[in-house]
């Protein structure tokens, strides 16, 4: 019997080629890497090569969570899906994140993670029922969307079954594809990896338990403490309207108020005052209505992941959406509502006529239709980059003449421009555009569909031949907001200046990292944000930069357009933010909610607890760690990610090839802009070079290249990684 808690102790490995499954001892094999992304990086390092094809059978896809998943640690229902990423121009490691309840069910089935290798000889799904694992042929499900695949697997496995599935997009190896679970939770970018393995889905049923190492009274007290500190979505701790218990700021994601209702709850439910000590109102704080307040009357309830009290998904019932041939109920959050950005909103509204009510309704219907399109075909909008890329190549009044016409066959161009064709629907604001667009993209049957569905850099390179300059224009465009590698910015310079920028360089796709950006938007006055940061980080031991300079974390806080030059505190903050994201992803908790730097409690001076994850981890697993020790583990996972990236790039030169700003990030490309004058967040190359200098010093990366050094790798117990990099000339200072 294990003496620890949190982990189940078993990791499942499935070989689709041989149709066999084996059980690995989690702690013996991956204990130093915990789970989730940490474990996945270790597997990919050990078992793939620099040139492994993301769509070949040698790629490995790892579904990971962590020891806190399935427990009462708030917001633990996350799954990280890591593989060599098909969206990346040459297959560097990427991770998609999905929520829902899949990982919790897998923990109850007794699994700390699922590692999938090889390729099945025909369409299959993996059926996991506690310790029984079957590989089930499913030729009749293949070809159908995610909704049908999920329903048919649940028919076979039962109503409590959680399913992760791909749609036609993943089957057809569209790079911009997702894996989806629980009807509204999708992980971007790995759908095609499953498709390339003939793996349609995984279904899991779990009737077991996840042990908590701590005494149950101790755990209860810790959960109570956690629930006392939680705010609303994205660390918001201030309401966005006047409340009897607080001042307010209109931008914060704490929406509840008197007279606001889940309007379609039948009968409606008021969200109300939601005083922070009222535990029975936490779930009403976040009526996050991405379509706007107009949608509140269509909101049945809020929704989200296992163990999260906040609920950031909106469940809508829009009866008139049925006229577009879709289910009038739809749920999602943020850019998961793909109808939101894909069509021209002015055209959508005018397509509905002149009555404002009709226009608002049509705009809302676009959300519903778009969600069904993306979640059934299983398409990834690449955090909005596909929308903006489409708008770029369509070019407004240009209507595709500049970029699309030279690149598509004449017959395709004719069809696009025909009455009732794609462009006609777009111009009329006709929502049938959405399904037509989704079908085009997920079947790869046209050149335009292939351009939109391929890795962005690959697609641009292909169109560069007939439309030279498209790549540079796309990269430089302030409306496209491309960052690097074929991915968009994701809370970058506009969320904390250099801290946001450094966070955005961290990965091989958009950064999926809210550790710092959420805090800056928590709603507290700026000086309180600075003071709380300085105090909490000092208490946790973050008092000096790597070079010995004392730091105050408040100095890392830049807000909106008022960027200041780089300083040491910002480098410490950027590293901390990256590390927190790795920790979240290796524990199984949500980085859109965690960490909790602030709290809504006036009696605490609005202080949260940045050591709370460490406390929860220690209590659940029995492996006691201080905050600093705990955070140091996350550094290790991030360093391994960097080593993997160096290997994929076949170059140490991360500084030049990986970590540079996009052209629009530099002030010099915005004529008349003066950097650091308090009106903008644009950078100078010198300041960015300094930002990288400080960042690399914090992490122990080589100053010139930004690659991990032997000393750094060995300090994290990864001498083997250092040796392998040295052997291929990718270790700074090593002779090849």
């Amino acid at each position: 019997m294990p003496t620890y808690g949190g982990w189940t102790g078993k990791t499942l490995r499935v070989n689709l080629t041989t149709r066999t499954s084996t059980v690995e001892n989690t702690l013996e094999k991956y204990g130093e890497f915990w789970g989730g992304t940490g474990m996945a990086y270790k597997v990919l390092w050990d078992e793939t090569e620099a040139d492994t094809d993301p769509l070949g059978p040698e790629n490995i896809i790892i579904f990971g969570w962590g020891p806190l998943t399935g427990t009462g640690a708030p917001c633990g229902g996350r799954t990280c899906i890591t593989a060599l990423g098909p969206q990346h121009p040459f297959g560097a490691v990427t991770t998609g994140h999905m929520g829902g309840h899949f990982s919790a069910e897998a923990k109850y089935a007794g699994w700390d993670g699922i590692i999938i290798t090889g390729k099945a000889d025909g369409p299959v799904y993996i059926a996991i029922k506690d310790d029984k694992v079957e590989i089930v042929d499913c030729p009749q499900i293949w070809g159908n969307g995610i909704y049908r695949a999920t329903a048919e697997i649940v028919e076979a496995m039962g109503g409590s079954c959680q399913v992760a599935a791909i749609g036609q997009a993943g089957e057809n190896l569209v790079a911009q594809s997702v894996i989806m679970t629980n009807y509204s939770h999708s992980a971007g970018g790995q759908g095609a990896v499953m498709g390339s393995k003939n793996l349609k889905a995984i279904g899991v049923v779990g009737t077991g338990t996840v042990k908590i190492a701590a005494d149950k009274k101790v755990w209860r007290n810790l959960i109570d403490y956690s629930m006392s500190l939680v705010g609303s979505n994205n660390q918001a701790v201030v309401p966005n309207s006047p409340q009897p218990w607080s001042d307010y700021v209109s931008s914060a994601r704490w929406y509840a108020k008197k007279g606001q209702y889940w309007g379609a709850a039948d009968p409606p439910v008021e969200t109300g005052i939601c005083e922070p000590h009222d535990r029975q109102s936490v779930g009403y704080r976040c009526l996050k209505s991405d379509p706007g307040t107009f949608a509140e009357q269509f909101t049945v309830r809020m929704d989200g992941c296992h163990a999260c009290p906040v609920r950031c998904h909106q469940d809508l019932l829009v009866p008139t959406a049925a006229k577009w041939g879709v289910d009038p109920t739809a749920a999602n959050t943020c850019t998961g509502w793909w109808g939101r950005g894909l069509m021209d909103s002015a055209k959508v509204k005018s397509g509905a006529g002149t009555i404002v009510q009709d226009q608002n309704l049509r705009a809302l219907e676009a959300y519903v239709v778009g969600k069904h399109m993306t979640d059934d075909f299983g398409l990834h909008n690449n955090y909005g980059l596909t929308d903006r890329g489409w708008a770029f190549i369509y070019g407004g009044t240009d209507k595709g003449v500049t970029y699309i016409q030279p690149n598509v066959p004449p017959a395709e161009w004719t069809a696009l421009n025909a009455t009732g064709g794609l462009f006609d629907l777009y111009e009329k604001g006709d929502l049938n555009f959405l399904m037509a667009f989704g079908k085009m993209m997920s079947t790869r049957s046209t050149e335009l569909g292939r351009f939109l569905g391929d890795p962005v850099e690959t697609a641009l390179a292909r169109w560069e031949v007939n439309t030279p300059g498209i790549t540079a224009a796309y990269h430089a465009s302030a409306s496209v907001q491309w960052w690097n590698h074929g991915f968009p910015k994701h809370h970058s310079l506009e969320n904390g200046a250099q801290v946001g920028g450094l966070i955005n360089t961290g990965y091989n796709r958009d950064s999926q990292n809210h550790s710092w950006s959420s805090y800056l938007s928590c709603g507290l006055p700026q000086q309180i944000i600075r003071d709380v940061a300085t105090e909490l980080f000092a208490d946790a031991g973050y008092t000096h930069a790597a070079n010995g300079d004392p730091i105050a974390m408040g100095d890392a806080c830049n807000f909106g357009s008022a960027a200041t030059p780089m300083n040491r505190a910002k480098a410490v903050a950027a590293v901390w933010a990256q590390v927190k994201k790795e920790l979240c992803d290796s524990l199984g908790i949500c980085n859109w909610m965690w960490p909790w730097i602030p709290s809504p409690l006036k009696e605490r001076g609005y202080r949260g607890d940045i050591g709370l994850e460490a406390k929860l981890f220690s209590a659940a697993t029995g492996r006691n760690m201080t905050t600093k020790e705990f955070d140091a583990e996350g550094v290790k996972f991030y360093v391994l990610h960097r080593a993997l990236t160096v290997r994929s790039f076949n170059s140490m030169n991360m500084r030049t090839l990986h970590d540079q700003l996009p052209p629009w990030g530099l002030a010099v490309n915005h004529p008349g802009t003066v950097p650091f004058d308090g009106t903008n967040y644009y950078e100078t190359q010198e300041d960015w070079d300094l930002a990288l200098d400080y960042f690399y010093e914090e992490l122990g990366f080589d100053q010139t290249t930004g690659a991990p050094t032997r000393e750094t790798l060995e300090s994290h117990g990864m001498k083997d990684v250092a040796d392998e990099l040295a052997a291929v000339g990718l270790l700074p200072g090593a002779i090849g």
């Binding site: 649940v154 439910v269 989200g304």
Partner: protein, 250 residues
């Protein structure tokens, strides 16, 4: 001394005959003048909530004082109720063993719904039903099914509670509950470790109610909820057990 033994000893000679199985329940009531109503209300035997040892194989449990109710329009399917129930009572998180059950209904609705019949739940109209114990009035299906009299009424709350010292883990109760809200804990393959587990209202302060972030779960005065929720399985009461009902009811 067990409570029922105390009562029997107070009754003197008649108590000894009952304990020896020589006096039927019907005769017992005639002799002592205690009516069925008195038995049910527990007024005569205050402090003796279960008469199963006195009355034979059908336990008579006094009504529970409180009950959980669940609002399908406030529930957001976070499942923190399941977590509080299992972690704070058992020290281990579980959905299947939680005594309030959300996970099995959340996606496709309650009862017999499966993937292709989307009526309620996330894939249907978003309403989520948590299955809760109805704390059934007499005759209590799970308590009646139990061959060991291991399901008793809690002295303080009246909640129907598994006495693990008596439970042999046969699982018959799990087949008797019309809503399948009693489950069997199986900590190992050794059957002697198996125990039934069900909602016992946490001694009057239900953890799930406290944990619910929307107030969807509430703890209110007991009322009979059996007709409000369609059963998901047929309850089983063998005729050999039902026969004894005659003693009190003829």
């Amino acid at each position: 001394m067990a409570q029922h033994e105390e009562v029997l000893s107070e009754l003197g000679a008649i108590g000894a005959e009952v304990a020896a199985g020589k006096v039927s329940r019907r005769s017992f009531m005639k002799i002592t003048g205690i009516t069925g109503a008195g038995l049910f209300a527990g007024t005569v035997f205050s402090g003796v909530p279960s008469l199963s040892a006195l009355t034979g194989s059908i336990p008579i449990l006094t009504d529970a004082k409180g009950i959980l109710i669940h609002d399908v329009t406030r529930c957001v399917a976070c499942r923190r109720c399941e977590l509080a129930c299992s972690e704070f009572n058992d020290g281990a998180a579980s959905s299947y063993l939680a005594r309030v059950k959300v996970g099995r209904n959340m996606q496709w609705g309650a009862g017999p719904s499966t993937g292709l019949v989307n009526l309620t739940g996330k894939a249907g109209n978003f309403r989520v039903q948590a299955d809760t114990c109805k704390q059934c009035p007499h005759p209590v299906p799970c308590a009646t099914a139990c061959p060991k009299g291991a399901i008793v009424a809690d002295p303080q709350t009246g909640a129907r509670k598994v006495d693990e010292a008596l439970c042999i883990g046969c699982g018959y109760c799990t087949k008797a509950c019309p809503w399948a809200v009693i489950t069997l804990k199986k900590p190992s393959s050794d059957r002697t470790t198996w125990k039934a587990t069900k909602c016992f209202l946490c001694d009057g302060s239900p953890e799930c109610v406290r944990a619910c972030p929307t107030g969807a779960l509430k703890f209110v005065s007991w009322r009979d909820l059996r007709l409000s929720y369609p059963p998901v399985q047929a309850t089983t009461m063998p005729s050999t057990t039902a026969v004894v009902c005659e003693d009190c009811h003829s």
